[in-house]
Amino acid sequence: MKIVLNGKSHETASTDLASLLAEIDFADAIVATALNGEFVSVDQRDGVSLQPGDRVEIVAPMQGG
């Protein structure tokens, strides 16, 4: 199915957020996630199923003022 990952169209076979992170090799990365604008904690990721068209955001520490 197609989802929107960090603003770009992304084809995935993953059905939940934890699997998606593993699929893109982010399983061990220091990142936070949001699904359709709502925060999804690390503990919740494998219980959150993905639907076509979902908007997933994956963010990491970055320089800031």
């Binding site: 982010f26 990365a29 520490p61 003022g65």
Partner: protein
Amino acid sequence: MLEFYGKRFGSRLLLGTARYPSPAILADAVRASTCEIVTVSLRRESGDMRAGQDFWALMKELGTHILPNTAGCHSAREAVTTARMAREVFATSWIKLEVIGDSDTLQPDPFGLVEAARILCSEGFEVFPYMNDDLVVAEKLVEAGCRVLMPWGAPIGSGRGLNNPYALRTMRAHFPDITLVVDAGLGVPSHAAAAMELGYDAVLVNTAVAKAGDPVAMARAFAAAVEAGRLAFEADPIDALDMAVPSTPLLGKALL
């Protein structure tokens, strides 16, 4: 000593980590400033670059306290979600809360700011709100649970210094027990010293250091100015007068 939500610090300079020429210069500037708190953000991580992972490794190496921000958020909802993500990633309940209301001046949206502050304080966050210098907004933020307020000196990155010293002085007088930080708009160390002379507890600087010709030297200069300004405040400066008062005694002057 400077205190933020029960934690005490020796340095009254907070440093942003953005816009430096390189990670190495950023690290050297942080060390030169002797600051104990740096601000960071959250941004999209791309699969191949992994820039965030490298940046985080550098921050851990520096060992400073981390103050994550919600920079770039234009609504309370966006800022709250970003804060929740930051709490997980950085393992801190501190959040520098930014809700921007105007894209040209990056002026805070006071309505969205108060709304987000209420939600975050109720969820146990320790909120550092980036705000304008409006006393009523400040009151609402304190009512929401903020024990720190961070009024701007001038628009972010503008380097204009303290646009409204009167408002900043009034805020200091009005909130003697709140930790006050001038955040944004400082351009040169004398601006930081002026904020500290007003009795502010700390200043937060980013662009003025990062974009200086020599960021490491400028970091050192800001640290010295912050210390000088604080010492001056504690030494109780004289009041300004309109007319001259001779400093050399007239008594005993020769009649020539």
